[in-house]
Symmetry: C2
Subunit: 360 residues, 2 copies
């Protein structure tokens, strides 16, 4: 089966096998070596010297950690939304009693930094901004993160970035761009099974953390910091997934980060060109198309759910459907993590055959 | 290495290998089959027809889910503590703004149901009771769960049970004993890598859930229920660990639950007899010794941490140390999950050799 969804992504055999290694004591020296090595390597990919934590959770757990540690009940925060995952941030803020000011952009478009600045001018009491770097639901990348960060700096705001489906596939320069909290997840570009979220925190984030009273226990980052100093996690981590991550990181550094980014851009371009060559329309606006997932409009007269079902059951390719309001309107072609030219070519061929089948 | 800690426990090869299967779409039909099958089988082990959820988290995440969904800020709850994990419940309640009334029993002893009844008489406004079934930190089982449950019924209290290190190794009759919320974790008796928590909820628990306003998003059980109806989870689950669990459950049902309980009792008895035969003293009071983990007093004149280090590095056996106030006072010998007679014999032999070495 050609798994062409934007996560969980295919896991290379050697990584999958690494997860089957003998179980170890999560409070012993082997684990301490493992978590220290992985944390150091993750920081290298995040391009940061900030603290970074490996949490046993999905990426959404990482988003909750970011909110619960940095947003107070009653606090106004700016949530920049360009799709379903931006909306998820809104929901989490609301659950924690925060007051999310939603700055919505039309699905398919990137966020406009000017409008972010306007919003911060208008709401001078906002001190936290939440942004999605790569919106998995629409296939849009907010490429202006550095500009957004500069704006946040000048309005004295903490910037929290969901980079779940970009980090390790698309460059994220955490320190250079001054991103305070950055989140990713093992099942995306990291070529690892789901189960781990990664969260980095700047000094400014820690300062805010100390002032936040929102309830957090499982996702308490300060506790994670204390345990990491001992080479441990506060509670039992997903050890087998960490074994996989260790191997995947080795493969990634062998390939080289720049080569990985170049490969992702090439495969994204192949996908976009191929989709257009089939007469289909991309959903993301030009210039903001993601290098990890391509969203494609379902053509008129085609049932979106039936398209997915035929591609899967008859042509061995699993695409993702649209989420929320985009259900039935688009399908999504993932090309992040462990991807070869053949995966892309076979994916494009599956689209062609499925549409032929549906038209016949 | 003979991993003789009370979790994570050794994973049988076939289970470890099952985790290396090809990744699948967590929103597709294969996953729906998987989660429905595992949930049904877990309910069989829990002996319940209540709702049951598989969460991507450690057991502590399951504990947080139990509290966040069933305890309001400001609410008085009775927390029965017989060790470190009971204390963890206290901490979680406090983090969520609850008012934990701690009913502490001396470490090494089981909870006395009479004192639970007295506490509920004294605090007539308590409507939630939290109890640890098997206290991993002391090797004590609270065998009187049914009596505790009867008391909770008569005082109209919801009963939340941490059965993380008992369920699947020691019988837990969720429905017969009327346990409202029951928690377990994949890395214990389930012979599966860490990363999954299991939580069951009674009708009475759902009624309380609807009245609770504590913040919960990642651990929102109502959301988990909505998604489970579609054969999904709210966010991406630890798919590879779920592959393992599926295989482990198959092995467990092949062996038979009664046989598993008998085997655990036998291995626990072998361990206790063997430890006593070495002239060592059990930490747990007689009659409350756990069938999943045996706690042993470190003899006078022996450094507890050095004992662990020598057993590991020279005799290939990993025991767990004491936690919290028991650090250096006891060591713990895990015998839950995938355990053979040889594991126990080799474990006992490692204790003997380590002590000989330290005395020489």
């Amino acid at each position: 089966m050609n798994l062409r969804i934007p996560g969980p992504t295919p896991v290379p055999d050697s990584v999958a096998q690494a997860g089957a290694a003998d179980m170890i004591n999560h409070r012993g020296p082997e684990f301490a070596d493992l978590i220290k090595r992985s944390t150091t390597q993750l920081k290298e990919v995040f391009e940061t010297e900030n603290d970074l934590f490996i949490l046993t959770a999905s990426g959404t757990g990482g988003m909750e950690a970011a909110v619960a540690n940095h947003v107070n009940a009653g606090e106004k925060v700016l949530v920049v939304t360009v799709g379903v995952f931006g909306k998820r941030f809104v929901e989490i803020v609301r659950v924690f009693g925060g007051n999310p000011i939603e700055l919505d952009f039309e699905f398919g478009r990137a966020a406009d930094p000017n409008r972010i600045e306007e919003a911060l001018q208008q709401h001078s009491d906002i001190r936290v901004v939440l942004v999605t770097h790569n919106e998995t639901s629409t296939g849009v990348t907010n490429n202006d993160l550095k500009i957004v960060s500069d704006i946040c700096q000048s309005y004295d705001c903490l910037l929290i970035v969901d980079a779940i489906s970009s980090l390790s596939s698309i460059p994220v320069k955490t320190d250079e761009w001054e991103l305070d909290v950055v989140i990713s997840g093992s099942q995306k570009g990291w070529m690892t099974a789901p189960g781990l979220a990664f969260v980095s925190c700047s000094e400014k984030a820690w300062e805010k953390n100390a002032l936040v009273t929102s309830p957090r226990f499982y996702f308490d980052l300060l506790k994670a910091k204390d345990y990491l100093a001992m080479g441990q996690t506060p509670s039992t981590p997903a050890v087998s997934v960490m074994f996989q991550l260790d191997k995947a990181l080795k493969i990634m550094f062998d390939e080289g980060l720049q080569n990985i980014y170049t490969r992702h851009h090439k495969h994204a371009q192949m996908t976009r060109d191929g989709v257009r060559a089939l007469g289909l329309e991309l959903f993301a606006e030009e210039g903001s198309e993601s290098d990890t997932v391509t969203s494609v409009r379902i053509p008129d007269g085609i049932d979106g759910l039936e398209f997915l079902e035929i591609a899967r059951s008859q042509f061995g390719t699993v695409f993702a459907g649209g989420q929320g309001p985009l259900k039935g309107q688009i399908f999504r072609f993932g090309h992040l993590g462990f991807v070869t030219d053949e995966h892309i070519e076979e994916g494009l061929s599956a689209i062609e055959k499925t549409l032929q089948k549906m038209h016949s």
